[in-house]
């Protein structure tokens, strides 16, 4: 090892607080005396900060956590911070409150909505998966919104505004009919690179704040506008989805 390499080794260990008190003292003296070494120490410190940033990858997914738990054979899934579960718990508490206090009435819409969200989520995810398994993820293929919108008329009770985001990198691929709660509802299908994004539009039942959940590797998001709730399912990453959601919602007729 050259003297230079040895110096760097000591410097690196000094920065990690791993030198013996005697060695650390010697290093401090050298740092005080050698400006060039100080500069090197500074670069090393900067590098550490940058490396730490670079290593901060997204954390383990809930899906991984769930499959580990399942593999070990716990009877119940580990507590995970699903927004829906929290909401349902809250709704259950509310419900107990309503019955306990004999205040059934005005609040029923809230718990109906809460109890309704899980089956709806199940249904939209199932619709998305069915679309992916089928030869194509849509029932009508068209990138023309003026073709897709009329196609829904008569087939579903909801006829959503069809938003075209082709020039923004999210081309419309077509439309599909999904069944949610026994009713036929429209789903708009978009593409982004290799990813498919399904946006299912269902009539809103009660207050539905925005929410997000992870299901089998898919992200499920929903938001409401007017008397409709929009459910998005995709395996696109969060950044891509955020862009899509913003573009979708900002478009005229595109909710929120």
């Amino acid at each position: 090892m050259t003297a230079d390499q040895e110096t760097f080794l000591l410097l690196s260990a000094y920065q990690d607080g791993e030198l013996s008190p005697g060695e650390a003292l010697a290093m401090e003296r050298r740092l005080a005396a050698e400006p060039e070494l100080r500069q090197r120490a500074e670069r090393l410190r900067t590098l550490s900060g940058e490396v730490r940033n670079a290593l901060a990858t997204p954390p383990a997914s809930d899906a991984l956590r769930a499959s580990v738990v399942q593999q070990i054979g716990f009877r119940r899934a580990a507590p995970h911070r699903s927004w829906f579960e929290a909401w349902q718990l809250m709704a259950a508490v509310l419900l107990v409150g309503f019955f306990g206090g004999g205040l059934i009435g005005g609040g029923t819409g809230i718990w109906l909505a809460a109890l309704g969200s899980q089956p709806t989520e199940d249904a939209v995810v199932a619709g998305h998966l069915r679309g992916l398994i089928a030869p194509q993820p849509f029932d009508i293929a068209s990138s023309n919104r003026h073709v897709v919108k009329p196609w829904f008329n008569g087939r579903t009770t909801v006829a959503p505004d069809v938003i075209d985001l082709t020039d923004k990198g999210y081309p419309l691929a077509g439309g599909r009919i999904d069944v949610v709660g026994g009713k036929a509802v429209p789903t708009l299908v978009y593409r982004h690179d290799q990813h498919v994004i399904s946006v299912t539009v269902v009539p809103r039942i009660g207050p539905m704040p925005k929410g997000e959940d992870q299901r089998d590797g898919y992200t499920v998001r929903h938001w409401s506008a007017g008397d409709l709730t929009y459910w998005l399912v995709s395996d696109l990453d969060a950044t891509g989805l955020n862009t899509f959601e913003r573009l979708f919602c900002d478009s005229p007729g595109g909710a929120m």
């Binding site: 990690d16 290593l55 716990f74």
Partner: protein
């Protein structure tokens, strides 16, 4: 017995899944493989949980993840693992000086392709291309914040080796960042 094992697993392993995942993420080089490794490591940890008496639970679990990564790499990426602890220092040196050629032979994942395009991802790419023995000390030190002694325990090498690998990995990254155009 099982209930006890479950309870200990929930206490010792589950809270550390994230840390295990990040180690696996960098050692395997991609998120999907990391998930497989963490799943396998968790099962190993569960089987061994009764044998884990007292001590550093974190180092214990990270050791299992690290060893699972190595056996996974041996099975799926035999070319990456050729440099091991018994290589002569000079040989290791040349591997490192060649800019992590061995790491560069890893299949080009979409993520790697993205890194290649992204100016800000240059450092991440350089870290990814480090030979595994250097990468693991770097991640365990910079991300997990383990002491040299703990890193030595997890990786099964001497503290002096940890110290020199860490210094060389850092020097390598500095050289690389300074040589490439900004």
């Amino acid at each position: 017995m099982t209930a006890l094992a479950h309870a200990r697993f929930s206490q010792i392993v589950l809270p550390r899944l994230d840390e295990g995942y990040r180690l696996a993420r960098w050692l395997t080089g991609n998120p999907t493989d990391a998930e497989d490794v963490v799943q396998e490591a968790s099962l190993r940890a569960y089987r061994g949980i009764e044998g884990f008496a007292e001590g550093n639970a974190r180092a214990w679990f990270l050791t299992i993840v690290r060893n699972t990564c190595y056996s996974w790499l041996q099975r799926h990426r035999p070319r990456i693992i050729v440099f091991s602890e018994d290589l002569e220092a000079e040989e290791r040196n040349s591997v490192l000086d060649a800019g992590g050629v061995l790491g560069a032979e890893a299949p080009q994942t979409p993520e790697a392709a993205l890194f290649a395009k992204d100016e800000a991802g240059r450092l991440a790419r350089a870290i990814n291309a480090l030979p595994v023995p250097f990468k693991e000390v770097l991640v365990l030190r910079e991300y997990h914040g383990l002491s040299y002694r703990e890193i030595a325990e997890v990786t099964g090498v001497a503290i002096e080796t940890v110290m020199s690998r860490l210094a060389r990995a850092r020097q390598h990254l500095l050289n690389l960042l300074e040589s490439e155009p900004q």
